[in-house]
Amino acid sequence: MSDARRAYFGRRYIISASHRLHTDALTAEQNRAAYGKCNNSHGHGHNYAVEVLVGGPVSAETGMVVDLVAVDKAVQERVLDRFDHANLNLDPLFAERVPTTENFCRTIFGLLQNALPSGELEQVRVEETENNFFECVREG
């Protein structure tokens, strides 16, 4: 039980944020066609559920893959403080990219990738609503 088997630790967080799906690369009509009601010029919001999955060996001393408090701290400082109760379109990371949940998911993965005290970031899953979600998985 205390050997260095690989396991995964997961934690869920909530981010309330607004966004608008729109790109200057398309005309107004094309934006409406591509994004539908998500192109509404004043934006709209979601309670995003973010699921962070960390993989690694289980420590024989602690029985843990990673310290939950350290994961919380990294997510709080790098992700929640930045995006919770914010407008995603106004964040510099979305200056050149549409804040679709695909791009949001990949952005969160990038912000957390090198911020963990142990283990590797295996997957970030972002649920935009109860009925749609997006996953970004570690490559290799």
């Binding site: 039980m1 205390s2 260095a4 088997r5 690989r6 396991a7 995964y8 630790f9 997961g10 934690r11 869920r12 967080y13 999955l53 289980v58 001393e61 602690t62 029985g63 843990m64 893959v65 310290d67 939950l68 408090v69």
Partner: protein, 139 residues
């Protein structure tokens, strides 16, 4: 390949304490979980098996059979028990969510493999709705 998951819940108590460490270090590393009077959770365990649907029944595995295996191998040992004191696998290993996922795999894998057909693919254990651990076997 089809992945089929069955979910079950069990309620158990536990605490985290490394006997090799001082009280101060245990309290520093494990925080409130180091209280030796223990505390409890409603755990959810998700068992995923992978395989091809049987050409006759259309089943990857019989869900009633899987339910019975989970009840016999896991719930009977852990439900309404104290994991540190009642479960042999946690006599010398911390009953963290990670180790519970590994222990559930060890309890279920022989029965799933012996049945032939589907393979055990993944165990996910939720300690709370916000905290979970996964084990996918191997090293």
């Amino acid at each position: 390949m089809i992945y089929l998951t069955r979910r079950a819940t069990f309620s158990a108590s536990h605490y985290y304490w490394n006997e090799a460490w001082s009280r101060e270090k245990n309290e520093q590393v494990f925080g409130r979980c180091a209280n030796k009077n223990g505390h409890g959770h409603n755990y959810t365990v998700e068992v995923t098996v992978a395989g091809e649907p049987d050409p006759v029944t259309g089943f990857v595995v019989d869900l009633k059979w899987l339910k019975d295996v989970m009840e016999r191998e896991v719930l009977a040992a852990w439900d309404h028990r104290h994991l540190n004191l009642d479960a042999p696998e946690f006599k010398h290993a911390m009953p963290t969510t990670e180790n519970i996922a590994i222990a559930a795999w060890k309890r279920l894998e022989p029965a799933v493999t012996a049945a032939g057909g589907a393979r055990l693919n993944r165990i996910r254990v939720y300690e709370t709705p916000e905290i979970f651990a996964e084990y996918r076997g191997g090293q």
